[in-house]
Structures are given as structure tokens and as C-alpha cells.
């Protein structure tokens, strides 16, 4: 499997290198959908120059990255393009190996449940075979690397790519089963922006399950949780002390976010990311990786300065759930919404800023529509997943009491 992956990597690097050298690089790095005030490369350069001049990089409310980013780029500023291409490649490789291992776990679990007779008799067409799952890791790497959103983020040198790499490595180490390493990567990702903290719950659930410990056993949960939590706290504390600066995440105190205009009540929207963790944990406790996928999508939708780089990360997971395709009901409409909104973003921006014939309402309407499209997409996947689980245990051809075809209703 290595050769196709290497080929995909080569193609991806070529595309990015070509775009870096073209005149589009300048234009892309200023687009507001691709870079936000929290992830813009210009601000990183600004912070580094301030540091060189002996001034604190955080004065002037321009630079909002973590000190770790300063340390990273202090030595690598001349190779910035290479760094971002390597981060994308690392993310793809991490996702590739993670999904490879995950598929093995899924197949093992499915075999176990089949032997235990947990599935209804007529669900043969829903059972997944190793043959169909063979190319999924490659497809995941492909989806991530050749997604236009990822390419745009890389060419714009948005630090969102680094965040994506850290989350991808967190997923890899969680699936491999190493609590220590996954805690480190989660700490690094949370240090950069607060939202990956919510991934602690699915990570914990997965680690507990792979150790064959019953998640309902309070004592076992407690010890494992303690282990992870203490590692997390330790690492965050170390970062804090070493760098002497608070974590880089800033809830909205700056310009109007892309999602809504700044308003004190919109603070609740950003807390939204954390609201969904507990209900999802209750419903999806048997399926922590799907939970992780949904949680990453929720982060991408509800975070304070969303960009297309965040969207690209959860889009990379679509091949993993391609067995749900037959249960997805609105996929055509949603694809159209996403494509149309992506195309209308630059048009309405041009009309608002340059032509002066539209105003900010048009642009914000499109960002809202884009987010609505994403929300509907995620809920469609969620619904499809639950439906498949239901069919697996209760049989595919359901009949009501009087023998007619029954209808499944989500309550």
C-alpha cells in the first residue's frame, strides 16, 4: 500500500509547489474564508519581527498564536512553504495509518458480534467485507491532500494546518492505544485553540474500550481518566511555565467573526462546541471514532473563527463512512449548497468591498448558509449511522404489526 500513498503525496506536493510559485499565492493568503485573524501567516511574521525588535509579540493585539509557534518558526521562517507542505503530508500519513488500524478494529468487532449472534438474520448486505475496506485509508489520504480547501489553506500558510496535524496525530496515537502520546498531542492541539479539548471524551472512550474495560465500571473509568487528565494538566502547565504566556486561544474580543457579528450573546454560540459533547457521548458511547468525527465537525462549524481548513479535516473522513451512503437522504442538496456557497463567497466579497453594490449582509448570509449546509450534512451522517445500527440489530426489512412495511421515525 505504500506505493499509491507515495504517489498521492508526490502529486499533492507538486500541486502545492506550483501554486506557491504562481501569482495566486498572494491573492489566496488574503481571502477571509481561508485565513482568520487567529491563523493568518502575516500575523505570525509580524509577531516574529516584533520579537526580533525586542518587543513583546502580544502587544498591539495583532499576534494571537502560541509561544510554541514562535519557537517553531523562529528557526524555520525561511522554509515556511516547505514546513506547511510537510505538515499536510504528515497529516495525510497519520490519517492513513490511523484508518488502517481502525478498519482492522472494526472488522474484528464485527466478527465478534456476528459470532455472538447479535445481528438480525437478514442483514447480510450491511456486513462490511475486508475487500471493500481495502482502499479506504488511501482514499482518506487522497481526500485530505487533494481537497481544494486543504490546498488553499496550505498555499495561504494558515496555521490551521498545524492544528490539523496535531489532531490527526492525536487520532493516530489514540487508535494505536498509547494513552501517553495521545495525551501529549491533545494537549498540544488544545494549547493552540481551546476546542480540541472536547476530543478528550471520545479519546478516553476509545482507549477504555480497546483495553476491554467496561466503560460503565466507575473505578476503571476513574483511573484511566485520571491518567489522561493528569497528563493533560501536566503538559498544559509545563507549556504555560516554560513560555510564560497564556494559551493562545482568544474568545471573541476582536473583529466580527465570520459566523456572526460580534455581540455578547454570541458568546453562547462558541460555547455550543462544548454543549454537544455530553449528549453525543451518551448516544455514541459504543462508537467513539464516529463520535470523534462528529465532534471535529461540530468544532469546525461552531468555533469562533472558522476557516475552510477546519472543514477539510472532517471531510477527509467521509470515505470511512461510505457504507452509510445508501442511508444518506439529502446528500445531493447538501453538496449543491456547499458548492454554491463556496463559489458565492468570493463573488459577494467582491461586490461588498470592491464594487460597493452589496453590503456585509450578503456576505454573512452566505457564511450562514454554508454553516447550515454543514450542520445538515453532519446530522444526515449521524442519522444514517444510527439507522444502520438499528437495522443491524433489528433486521433490514421491518414489518409493522399488520405485516405492511414499517417506517423508521427518529424520536
Amino acid at each position: 500500500m505504500a506505493a499509491p500513498l507515495v504517489l498521492v503525496l508526490v502529486v499533492a506536493v507538486t500541486v502545492r509547489a506550483a501554486l506557491f510559485r504562481s501569482s495566486l499565492a498572494e491573492f489566496i493568503s488574503e481571502r477571509v474564508e481561508v485565513v482568520s485573524p487567529l491563523s493568518s501567516w502575516k500575523r505570525v511574521v509580524e509577531g516574529l519581527s516584533l520579537l526580533d525588535l525586542g518587543v513583546s509579540p502580544y502587544s498591539g493585539a495583532v499576534f494571537h498564536e502560541t509561544p510554541l509557534i514562535i519557537y517553531l518558526f523562529h528557526f524555520l521562517i525561511d522554509y515556511a512553504e516547505l514546513v506547511f507542505m510537510i505538515t499536510d503530508a504528515l497529516t495525510a500519513i497519520a490519517l492513513y495509518f490511523a484508518i488502517q488500524d481502525f478498519n482492522k478494529v472494526v472488522f474484528k468487532k464485527q466478527k465478534l458480534l456476528l459470532e455472538l449472534d447479535q445481528y438480525a438474520p437478514d442483514v447480510a448486505e450491511l456486513i462490511r467485507t475486508p475487500m471493500e475496506m481495502r482502499y479506504i485509508p488511501l482514499k482518506v489520504a487522497l481526500f485530505y491532500l487533494l481537497n481544494p480547501y486543504t490546498i488553499l489553506s496550505c498555499v495561504a500558510k494558515s496555521t490551521c494546518a498545524i492544528n490539523n496535524t496535531l489532531i490527526a496525530f492525536f487520532i493516530l496515537t489514540t487508535i494505536k492505544g498509547s494513552a501517553f502520546l495521545s495525551a501529549i498531542f491533545l494537549a498540544l492541539a488544545t494549547y493552540q485553540s481551546l476546542y480540541p479539548l472536547t476530543l478528550f471524551v471520545p479519546g478516553l472512550l476509545y482507549l477504555l474500550q480497546t483495553r476491554h474495560i467496561n466503560p460503565n465500571s466507575a473505578a476503571a473509568v476513574h483511573t484511566c481518566e485520571n491518567e489522561e487528565q493528569s497528563l493533560l494538566d501536566l503538559f498544559l502547565g509545563v507549556c504555560h511555565d516554560v513560555c510564560g504566556k497564556p494559551s493562545g486561544n482568544h474568545l471573541p474580543l476582536l473583529l466580527p467573526s465570520q459566523l456572526l457579528g460580534f455581540h455578547p450573546r454570541s458568546l453562547w454560540l462558541y460555547i455550543n462546541v462544548f454543549f454537544y459533547t455530553i449528549p453525543l457521548a451518551i448516544k455514541l458511547k459504543e462508537h467513539p471514532i464516529f463520535f470523534m468525527f462528529i465532534q471535529i465537525a461540530v468544532i469546525a462549524i461552531f468555533k469562533s473563527y472558522p476557516t475552510v481548513g477546519d472543514v477539510a479535516l472532517y471531510m477527509a473522513f467521509f470515505p470511512v463512512w461510505n457504507h452509510l451512503y445508501r442511508f444518506l437522504r439529502n446528500i445531493f442538496v447538501l453538496t449543491c449548497i456547499i458548492i454554491v456557497c463556496s463559489l458565492l463567497f468570493p463573488v459577494l466579497w467582491h461586490l461588498w468591498i470592491y464594487a460597493g453594490s452589496a453590503n456585509s449582509n450578503f456576505f454573512y448570509a452566505i457564511t450562514l448558509t454554508f454553516n447550515v449546509g454543514q450542520i445538515l450534512l453532519i446530522s444526515d451522517y449521524f442519522y444514517a449511522f444510527l439507522r444502520r445500527e438499528y437495522y443491524l440489530t433489528h433486521g433490514l426489512y421491518l414489518t409493522a404489526k399488520d405485516g405492511t412495511e414499517a417506517m423508521l421515525v427518529l424520536k
Binding site: V347, H350, Y354, A355, L410
Partner: protein
């Protein structure tokens, strides 16, 4: 989630829409066009009105007694120009200085991608001359621009004369708060583009120009004057700018109001405002004006140097003095052609779906930036796109598709344009004009960044080809 999750209701709605598909398509097409054309009828048209009082003209006195002086200047300018062949820079500098302005010049040069047949130029170089009248009692934070574009084909000497006379008159007004820039450009639009780029310190079109020595503050508004004859029977106001941009409507209404007060005839698209709305003549004239405006705006060409100011968020107009005994020569819209084909490997229905979505997206984006162009293209392309299928009378559909292709639409609009201006074309003339228009379109894309050529050749033409592929599907 209601409609999105309830399969029974969805199926019912889908069945209803499928059954009424053809009537719904026809109805929405007809309703769309009718609604737009209804703008010419009384309940939807409005008399000239001012929407923002800040642009109002209540506190301004209108007096100007420099007519003779203007004619003298114009005669001098024409004589010097004929002698030197190009813009008489030294004479202009001297005269502007004598009138009391700060005078500066700017030289520019540009090599066009291929020789321009219409204006007969290839390597263009020239000089712009401009004078700044500083506001005596205010800081130079804002300015107005009065510009006279001089090209080799339209000497515009009367306008230069008027400009200089106005400058002399304005010298006496000491209470005005804005600087006024009097700009004379060579090679009409190319010179204006060079000046604007240097003024705003950008380089959008690859023009080589010397930097400006003197500036006057952020430009608030600009007026371009084109007067080619001594006798002016009416003033035609041109509003369409580059890529279909328009200035603030209040600016146009301001001029209409002044013209009415001063008893001067003011026309739009060469036509007067219809007076009687009761019989059929009024709405018919209104319809002609509407169609002329749609055609002009759809072409995306700047009809006068005001069109280039709009890109920099400066409200601008062009005033053309018309002597109704003269004929006007207009250059027209253009389209370039690039052939590219794409054909996915699935059924013709999937191809048609993709092509329809692509067309809808394109027309939506085009209509947002330049409504007239979007409307024109939608009127012609949508019915034939909807009809394209491999079964049925193929030759008829093929003929229809060819008739509504972007190139044929261009040809048709040229003939329609001339008809509306009461100067109809013969077939040979029309064809010559069509070819000239194609060349002009490509040139304008390179010199001013006009979007019509790339949009049509790279966007709509491939879309049309997709429909052609659907029609001839095996």
C-alpha cells in the same frame, strides 16, 4: 426536521413537481422576463427624485458667463492640435497656469497585445496634463475631477475650451471646500486608466506610467465631458462603466434636475424621458431605452472615461453634447472564443444535470456582478438549455442551440442595438462590426481588465458545449 426527513411528504412533493415540470419551467421563464420588462410601465417607473438629501442642489447657485472665453480656448486648442498632431502639452500647461491652476504632467506608454484596428494603434504612448485648483479655505482632503478625454478620432476641442473657461470661473469661488482637478488625457481611456492607476498607486493593467507629482486628496466624484461641436442641442448622460458598474443614481438625478432648471435637454441612451404615459408611445419609448441600457451594460465596456473611475469607488458620469445633425459611431460588445470540451462518462441525464447546475451557478454569479449581462444571457440560453435532449427533433434543437450560443447572442444584440438607435445595419456591415467587436473585447480585457471576454470564453462557452454534447449523445 419536517420536509428533509419525512419520506412520505417528500415523495408527494417530488411527484407534484415532476408532473408540473414543463408548465412550471415555461411559467417561471415568462414571468421572469415579463417582471423585468414591466419596469417601463407607470406603476413601476418613477420620475426623477433625490433619495439622499446630502446630494441635493438647493443651496447652489448656477451662474456661468464664460461662453465666449470657452470658444476662444477651443479654437486655440484645435489649431495647436492640428499643427502638432498629438496633444499640445506645452500650450495646455501655459494656459492652465495662466488661469491659475497648479499644473503637472504624466507620461505613459503601453504596448497592446495586438494592433487595434478600430482606433488604429499598437504602441501607445502619450502625456496627460492636469491642473489642480486648491480650495482656498480647506485642507486638501477631498477632490472632484473634471476630465476631458482626447483621442485621435475625437478631438473634443470644445470640451477642452469649456474646461479651461470653467477653471477660470471657479477661481473666483472662494468658499468651495474641495479641490478640483482639471484633467486632459491623451488616447482617451488609456490615458485615463494610466492617470487613475498612478493616482491610487496601483498597477492593475500593466501600464507603464511616470508617477504623479501632484495629488489632491480622495476623489469624491468625477465628470467627463465630450463635446465635439459648437452647437449642442442636448446633453446625453452615459452611466455604464467597466463590467457593468453604475454610479450612484443620485448623481444622475442631480444632472437631470440641473438640466431641467437650466432648460437644457437631457437624454439617456440618446432618448428623452417619455412625457405621455397614457398611449402606447410612452411605454414603447421606455422599453427602447431599457433595452439599450441592458445591451450597453451587458457589454461591460466603459462608455466614456467615467467608467474607469467607478472601479476606484468614485461616482462618475460622462456628459456628451449631441448635435442632432451628426451621426454617432459606437463600438460594440465583444466576445472571444476558446474551445474546450468536457464529457463525463455517464448517461446524458447526468451530463445535463451537471451542465444545468454549472449554467445556473455561472448566471447567478454573473447576474450578481452585472445584472444586465446575466439577464441577457439567461433570456437566450435558458430555454434552449432546458430543451436539449438526445431524443426528439434533433435538427430543430440544434438550430435553436446554435441561435442562442454566446456568439450568436452577440451578433443578435448588435443588430438589435442598431435597430433601437434607428440606424439599422446591413448583413455585411453587421458582420464587420461583429469581427471588430470580438477584437475589441480581447483588447479591453488586456487594457482595462474587462471581464466579458474571459467570462464568455472560459465560462459560458464550455457550458454551451456541454449542452451540445447532451444533444448529440449516442
Amino acid at each position: 426536521m419536517g420536509l428533509l426527513s419525512d419520506p412520505v411528504r417528500r415523495r408527494a412533493l417530488a411527484r407534484l413537481v415532476l408532473r408540473l415540470n414543463a408548465p412550471l419551467c415555461v411559467l417561471s421563464y415568462v414571468a421572469g422576463i415579463a417582471w423585468f420588462l414591466a419596469l417601463v410601465f407607470p406603476p413601476l417607473t418613477q420620475r426623477t427624485y433625490m433619495s439622499e438629501n446630502a446630494m441635493g442642489s438647493t443651496m447652489v447657485e448656477e451662474q456661468f458667463a464664460g461662453g465666449d472665453r470657452a470658444r476662444a480656448f477651443a479654437r486655440d486648442f484645435a489649431a495647436h492640435r492640428k499643427k502638432s498632431g498629438a496633444l499640445p502639452v506645452a500650450w495646455l500647461e501655459r494656459t492652465m497656469r495662466s488661469v491659475g491652476l497648479e499644473v503637472y504632467t504624466q507620461s505613459f506608454s503601453r504596448k497592446l497585445p495586438f494592433p487595434d484596428e478600430t482606433h488604429e494603434r499598437y504602441m501607445v504612448s502619450g502625456t496627460n496634463v492636469y491642473g489642480i485648483l486648491r480650495a482656498p479655505r480647506a485642507a486638501s482632503t477631498e477632490s472632484l475631477v473634471l476630465t476631458v478625454p482626447c483621442g485621435s478620432d475625437s478631438t473634443n476641442s470644445q470640451a477642452v475650451g469649456l474646461l479651461l473657461a470653467l477653471a477660470a470661473h471657479f477661481r473666483g469661488q472662494i468658499y468651495w471646500a474641495k479641490d478640483i482637478v482639471f484633467l486632459v488625457t491623451e488616447h482617451d481611456l488609456l490615458g485615463t486608466e494610466a492617470w487613475l492607476e498612478a493616482y491610487h498607486d496601483v498597477n492593475v493593467t500593466g501600464m507603464q506610467s511616470s508617477p504623479l507629482q501632484g495629488r489632491a486628496g480622495a476623489i469624491q466624484a468625477a465628470v467627463a465631458l465630450e463635446l465635439s461641436s459648437d452647437v449642442v442641442t442636448s446633453l446625453d448622460v452615459a452611466v455604464e462603466g467597466l463590467n457593468g458598474q453604475l454610479p450612484n443614481l443620485d448623481l444622475l438625478n442631480l444632472f437631470q434636475t440641473f438640466c431641467q432648471k437650466g432648460g437644457l435637454l437631457c437624454t439617456l441612451q440618446g432618448k428623452l424621458q417619455p412625457e405621455d404615459w397614457t398611449s402606447l408611445d410612452g411605454p414603447l419609448q421606455g422599453l427602447q431605452t431599457l433595452l439599450l441600457m441592458v445591451l450597453r451594460q451587458a457589454s461591460g465596456r466603459p462608455h466614456g472615461s467615467h467608467g474607469l473611475f467607478l472601479r476606484y469607488r468614485v461616482e462618475a458620469l460622462t456628459l456628451r453634447g449631441i448635435n442632432s445633425f451628426r451621426q454617432y459611431k459606437y463600438d460594440l460588445v465583444a466576445v472571444g472564443k476558446v474551445v474546450s470540451t468536457q464529457a463525463p462518462d455517464r448517461g446524458w441525464m447526468a451530463l445535463k444535470l451537471v451542465a444545468l447546475i454549472y449554467l445556473a451557478l455561472q448566471l447567478g454569479c454573473i447576474a450578481l456582478t452585472n445584472f444586465s449581462l446575466g439577464f441577457l444571457l439567461a433570456t437566450t440560453m435558458v430555454p434552449t438549455a432546458a430543451l436539449a435532449k438526445p431524443h426528439g427533433p434533433r435538427t430543430l434543437y440544434a438550430a435553436l442551440l446554435v441561435l442562442t450560443s454566446p456568439a450568436a447572442t452577440l451578433l443578435g444584440s448588435l443588430f438589435l442595438w442598431r435597430e433601437l438607435q434607428e440606424a439599422p445595419l446591413s448583413l455585411a456591415e453587421g458582420w464587420q462590426l461583429f469581427l471588430a467587436a470580438l477584437a475589441q473585447g480581447v483588447l479591453e480585457h488586456h487594457t482595462y481588465g474587462a471581464l466579458l471576454f474571459p467570462l464568455l470564453s472560459l465560462g459560458l462557452y464550455p457550458c454551451w458545449l456541454l449542452f451540445w454534447n447532451v444533444l448529440f449523445w449516442k
